[in-house]
């Protein structure tokens, strides 16, 4: 078991950036081993006529999605894709029935590239013609494709030390009895060999995980063969993914979740009372994904540039070393701080989580939030008994509807936190919410703004809705109801577009992809007569009959009423008039624009609704661009 360096040595490197992305101390190498036997190409659903999806398709889909997630997460994990039970063979060992899928400019085990994602996505279309499918283990033959596949996978994972890299083989198959077709001594022999091969791999620090695919009517019986291969014992077998879901989508979901490897942020101590101090791991389950950092390149060579930082004394212009002293002006003086003093100020607590007490859940208001929450889960790794205390508190808090208030003394920002117990929620696609506690970062009084009071008027009682108006609103709420809304059902359109463009550019495609924005409201749904009626009734009830008309009038009145807008309008008119008296095209043609004054240039810009900021050259170039020169 590898000792995690994070928990012990990371206290000092605690910083804001770390909060948002956990550092990858361990890279991960994964080989996706996909069964390509004809059985995988059989229909996966129970209704043969309806579903045309195959298990093979499900597996390809999952891997595709996970490759995309990896490339977006800009991780340094390396992957290889390998099919077995194939007609063709392609592998270093030249073993039969194993095909290592790869694209140009890439090692077999390497970080995913745009091309890999793209070609892999379409691998099914040409699979039969290029790679082919057939049963690898048949009676009368000495071939053992599963054995070969494990061997190839193990060979692929040879690089990298097992200390710094976690290595995994993910096996996708729907055959629970791979040696079912043969009998006798050959069978036992083959089983023995395969198990030995798997064991060797595991001894080398490679973990093998099975992602079974099965049809609803015939479960995947893991105990026939795979339990032994995976080294499952006793209870573990029954806990092992009891059955694939009812629906194929659920299965995809399940597989996708299981493909992730958990990564903790750090291990912290949670001090409860009188020296009882348990240990918990923290996980960043929710963090906003950003488009990633940019790099500066030389536009001629497209090679990355080196950034050099230099410190210049503002008074003398002399180059100085990176200063260790900071200052703040105060009362016309300069107060100096050394970096040590600053870190001392920030150090309020020792990085532990201190329990302060408990409060009912309704004390946690909607505005008590600052940052994404952190998930905590107990660990018995160093302090035995932590889990038991954690579970006991977890249950009590759930039952009594309380949350724990604690002080989290992280160096980056020591903060009060609410620990909200979350019970496990499972759905048809497996675990939806893991059991544990969510750490919610609470604001201080300094962070809360009392905006409501800003527009408070004395004497004027703010009107409240009448019961009838509330009833109309309730009717509306009932109409526009998102029944099965789940929190993360939308993909981020900006991010999707960003990576869509990058993928297209990386592959040298001209066509920019069209990304659908899922976040737009359902116009069609909202125009259903029932909803329209409810909206109309509500509108009349709160606004009165002729609201639109009044609004239009008000807007018209405002149009000529507001001082600023009138001025702006007048300016635009003058500009348009003045601008018309110049022959801009001619001036531009003869390079005479620079002879005009800035004021004159701005006439053109204002008249054409262009920005008027910048130096004269900027204005001129903007005019030229607009004229299409």
């Amino acid at each position: 078991m590898d000792l995690d360096p994070e928990g012990l040595f990371r206290d000092d490197s605690d910083s804001e950036s770390e909060f948002y992305q956990e550092k990858d101390f361990t890279k991960e190498f994964v080989v996706y081993l996909v069964d390509a036997s004809p059985k995988m190409f059989g229909a996966a659903g129970s209704d043969e006529d309806e579903k045309t999806d195959t298990h093979f398709h499900v597996a390809i889909n999952c891997i595709s999605q996970s490759l995309k997630a990896q490339i977006i997460g800009s991780s340094y994990d390396e992957v290889a894709v390998c099919f077995f039970n194939t007609k063709e063979k392609k592998n270093l060992q030249d073993l039969n029935g194993v095909y290592v899928f790869n694209v140009t400019d890439r090692e077999c085990l390497d970080r995913p590239t745009a091309r890999l994602i793209k070609e892999f996505f379409y691998v099914e279309d040409t699979f039969m013609s290029n790679i082919g499918s057939r049963y690898g283990i048949v009676s009368g033959s000495q071939e053992n494709s599963l054995y070969n596949a494990l061997w190839v996978a193990q060979a692929l994972l040879r690089k990298g030390s097992s200390k710094s890299v976690s290595k995994r083989i993910l096996l996708f198959t729907n055959e629970d009895d791979p040696f079912g077709s043969i009998t006798g001594a050959t069978k036992t022999d083959m089983i023995r060999m395969t198990l030995q091969r798997a064991k060797d791999a595991q001894d080398l620090g490679i973990s093998i995980e099975l992602l079974p695919l099965s049809r609803p009517d015939e479960g995947f019986n893991v105990s026939i063969f795979y339990a032994e291969l995976l080294g499952l014992e006793g209870d573990e077998i029954s806990h092992f993914l009891p059955s694939a879901g009812e629906k194929l989508e659920d299965m995809t979901d399940q597989l996708r979740k299981r493909m992730f490897k958990k990564r903790k942020v750090k291990t912290i101590r949670f001090s409860i009372a009188n020296g009882i101090c348990i240990e918990v791991n923290t996980y960043a389950l929710i963090r906003s994904t950003s488009p990633g950092s940019i790099m500066w390149l030389d536009s001629i060579t497209n090679l990355p540039l080196k950034t050099e930082r230099s410190f210049v004394c503002a008074d003398t212009g002399a180059l100085v070393e990176e200063p260790r002293i900071y200052f703040h002006p105060y009362k016309n003086e300069i107060i100096k701080f050394s970096t040590d003093e600053l870190s001392k100020i920030k150090k309020v607590s020792n990085g532990q989580l201190h329990l302060l007490g408990f409060k009912p859940l309704d004390c946690l208001k909607d505005y008590h939030n600052l940052r994404p929450s952190t998930f905590i889960f107990p660990t018995d790794e160093e302090v035995v008994g932590s889990t038991r205390i954690f579970i006991a508190l977890h249950r009590s808090m759930l039952r009594l509807q309380r949350f724990a208030l604690a002080f989290y003394g992280s160096l980056y920002r020591p903060q009060l936190v609410a620990l909200v117990a979350q019970d496990e929620i499972t759905g048809s696609s497996g675990q939806v919410e893991p059991p544990g506690m969510h750490m919610i970062y609470l604001p201080y009084s300094d962070d809360i703004r009392h905006v409501e009071e800003l527009h408070m008027s004395a004497d004027a009682i703010a009107p409240r809705a009448t019961d009838d108006q509330i009833k109309k609103a309730s009717a509306l709420l009932r109409r526009i109801d998102l029944k099965d809304f789940s929190v993360c059902q939308f993909t981020n359109p900006a991010l999707q577009r960003h990576y869509g463009i990058l993928q297209a550019l990386a592959l040298g495609e001209d066509e920019m992809p069209d990304i659908k924005d899922e976040t737009l409201p359902d116009e069609e749904g909202l125009s259903r007569p029932g909803i329209v009626r409810a909206l109309q009734e509500f509108k009349i009830s709160v606004y009165g009959e002729n609201y639109d008309q009044e609004e239009a009038n008000a807007a018209a009145a405002k149009g000529c009423g507001s001082e600023a807008s009138r001025k702006r309008k007048a300016m635009a008119e003058t500009a348009a008039r003045e601008s018309a008296s110049y022959d801009w095209a001619d001036l531009a043609e003869n390079g005479k624009l620079k002879d005009l004054t800035v004021v004159e240039l701005k006439y053109y810009l204002t008249a054409h609704n262009l920005p008027v900021t910048g130096k004269k050259e900027a204005l001129i170039s903007r005019i030229l661009t607009h004229l299409g020169k």
């Binding site: 503002a314 709420l477 993909t491």
Partner: protein, 645 residues
């Protein structure tokens, strides 16, 4: 006055009943002044004390009356001396009359700014309002309050009132009720806010020491549909107050240079990899975006042409049950949607929807693009905020929700699947229940300790403190900074002050609460045992402060074979040289001993002890519960012997 300039008059009650909290009052007021020195250098402050032995105010000279009120500092631009005034407030021996004090405060403001200059004018009253106020010469007290409110309103003066009352027996309830109702009358008739606090720590949080003028994030329509829109303004409700940005210091300037800035500028130069001497000019630089191992160069013009450009607008996607959105999905700081000020129809519309949402326990899902040209959309949840104050309209809170890409669906084992040795038994569960019940921070109805709204940031406090002389009291991180700043201005070599007693209540459990439920905690303590795994320890620096007595005191609570576990567990974890095979991790101890190379005796000792351990295990086993452990040990023993051969 300038837009962001404000004038504040602090009215501080220094009467006998206030003496216990005056140190905190001094501090919170100093903080206010210190922050003004940094963030609002042209703001003006004045201090008025009431309940004093002396009397010194202009009203007394002009019209008489107004006794025991001292104008400590007339209104003027903040300066360093202002902090000095607040260091040692005189303790008065007379009951203070807060109505008189308010009148004096208003008088100061009116005299200073006259009827024409209506800037931001604020009166902060800190009192415990325990003493009856004097009967006015004419009319009732209520009439008097009305007149004063009227005056405040015409001059645009706000009143912030903090009533601090620690739980003290023997106070005159009737008087306090009367005073409270008078103060409440202010909040109805004038622009006033009354806050009741019950601990000095809350006092630190209750007074807004920094004046931030909020800006709207969005003004426009909340579109329920294309035909039904509500005009709203959106502000930030919470926003992290950061540690102040410090400038880098350069001591190069000549000491006679009066205009020296002492600043350090940072220059960035971009150089090509092949030729480190060549600086690449900005126009020759191009942005590269990472895509896997590739870096894709895109010019900003190209990027502008293809990037995602949503239309500005706030649109409703629908309503959903509040239970569909778990609390931990809230992503960022919180926004507040208020109906357009003064727009009665918008106020009613917001009110109707907010109240309907509250009644039906629904949330609304919105898609927001705050500005035109914003590169992204925001999906979030709208929750009702029903106003409890008559002249504040209902509003909504808005929290940002994650996208698919932002969520990592890690799978965790179910607690039920854990072995029984990790599960609490009934007795332990009861101890936990009691702990959760008793360590209650909401001791009685309406009371709540450490409410975020009144809890200051300790770090900011202390830093402000640093700039002050070593006052024994300093606050939490940002506060800490300000304290330190002030301290340093007086004593350049000052050390970072320790965390103040009151602020410690934020970072550490309150000893009072904990000691009063000592039995519950002790019971909890007794029911659970914790053991440190010695082998896993890498650094001995990490203090695990378990009391050794805890683990030896009790045993067998869980009916598991804990008898052989609880002895011999508290060994020094930093001791890497294992000298004997313990009961907790015999295999690891064995391996450690086998690996010791300082003397050959360890190997034989290890083998011997391991043999004994295995036979002990087998002998002491109850219904075979230790067999698996014994086999583990045996395996380790065998492996070790093979290696040693």
């Amino acid at each position: 006055m300038a837009r962001n300039k404000e004038a504040v008059v602090l009215l501080l009650d220094v009467g006998p009943s206030m003496h216990s909290v005056l140190p905190e009052v001094e501090r919170v007021c100093s903080m206010l002044v210190q922050k003004k020195l940094i963030f609002g250098k042209s703001d003006e402050v004045g201090f008025v004390l009431f309940g004093t032995d002396d009397t010194y105010n202009e009203l007394q000279k002009e019209v008489g009356g107004y006794e025991h009120i001292v104008v400590l500092r007339n209104i003027g631009v903040v300066d360093g001396n202002a902090v000095g005034f607040l260091q040692n407030l005189p303790r008065g021996n007379f009951p203070g009359d807060f109505i008189d004090a308010i009148v004096v405060g208003i008088d100061l403001l009116i005299k200073k700014f006259g009827p024409t200059n209506k800037g931001k004018q604020r009166i902060c009253l800190i009192t415990d309002a325990k003493y009856p106020i004097k009967e006015p010469y004419e009319g009732t007290k209520e009439d008097q309050v009305n007149t004063i409110s009227q005056m405040m309103q015409t001059h645009g003066i706000r009143l912030d009132c903090i009533v601090i009352r620690e739980k003290l027996p023997g106070a005159d309830l009737r008087v306090m009720e009367e005073n409270d109702s008078l103060l409440d009358q202010f909040s109805r008739k004038a622009i006033a806010k009354i806050v009741h606090v019950d601990s000095p720590t809350s006092l630190l949080g209750a007074l807004k020491t920094r004046n931030i003028s909020p800006v709207t994030v969005f003004r426009g329509d909340l579109e329920l549909s294309s035909t039904m829109k509500i005009k709203v303004w959106v502000y930030k409700k919470t926003s992290e107050e950061k540690f102040p940005t410090l400038k880098k210091y350069s001591g190069k300037a000549h000491s006679s240079d009066k205009f020296a800035t002492y600043e350090v500028k940072v220059d960035y130069e971009y150089k090509s990899m092949e030729d480190p001497d060549k600086v690449v000019p900005p126009e020759q630089r191009i942005r590269g975006y990472r895509y896997g191992p590739q870096v894709v160069p895109i010019s900003s013009a190209e990027w502008e042409a293809v990037k995602f450009k949503p239309e500005k607008g706030v649109k409703l996607l629908g309503f959903t049950d509040a239970s569909n959105i778990l609390r931990h999905y809230y992503m960022k700081d919180v926004y507040i949607f208020i109906p357009e000020p003064g727009n009665q129809k918008a106020i009613v519309a917001v009110s109707a929807i907010a109240r309907a949402m509250k009644d039906m326990n629904k949330s609304a899902i919105l898609r927001c693009v705050w500005r035109q040209g914003q590169g992204n959309v925001v999906i979030g949840v709208l929750r009702p905020n029903i106003s409890s104050v008559d002249n504040i309209p209902d509003s909504f809170y808005f929290n940002v929700l994650p996208f698919v890409e932002d969520v990592r669906e890690f799978q965790f084992p179910s607690f039920r699947s854990f072995p029984s040795s990790w599960q609490p038994n009934e007795q332990q569960q009861e101890a936990a229940d009691n702990l959760v019940k008793m360590l209650d921070l909401t001791p009685s109805e309406g009371e709540e300790v450490l409410q975020p709204d009144y809890t200051p940031n300790p770090v900011l406090e202390v830093s402000y403190c640093f700039t002050q002389t070593v006052s024994p009291t300093c606050y939490d991180k940002i506060r800490r900074f300000y304290h330190f700043l002030d301290l340093k201005s007086k004593q350049p070599d000052a050390d970072v002050p320790p965390l103040d007693r009151n602020l410690r209540g934020i970072t550490e459990p309150d000893p009072a609460v904990f000691s009063c439920h000592k039995s519950v905690i002790d019971n909890f303590h007794k029911n659970f045992e914790l053991k440190e795994k010695p082998k896993k320890k890498k650094s001995s620096k990490r203090a695990w402060r378990g009391k050794p007595s805890a683990s030896s005191e009790e045993e067998g609570v869980d009916g598991e074979a804990s008898g052989f576990q609880s002895s011999n567990l508290m060994k020094d974890s930093s001791n890497i040289n294992v000298e004997k095979i313990g009961n907790l991790n015999p295999v690891q101890d064995f391996e450690a001993m086998m690996a010791r190379r300082d003397s050959s005796k360890w190997v034989s000792k290890a083998i011997k002890e391991m043999q004994n351990h295995v036979s002990d295990l087998l002998e002491n086993s109850y219904e075979g519960d230790a067999y698996s452990k014994a086999i583990e040990c045996l395996l380790a023993l065998r492996k070790g012997c093979i290696l040693e051969q």
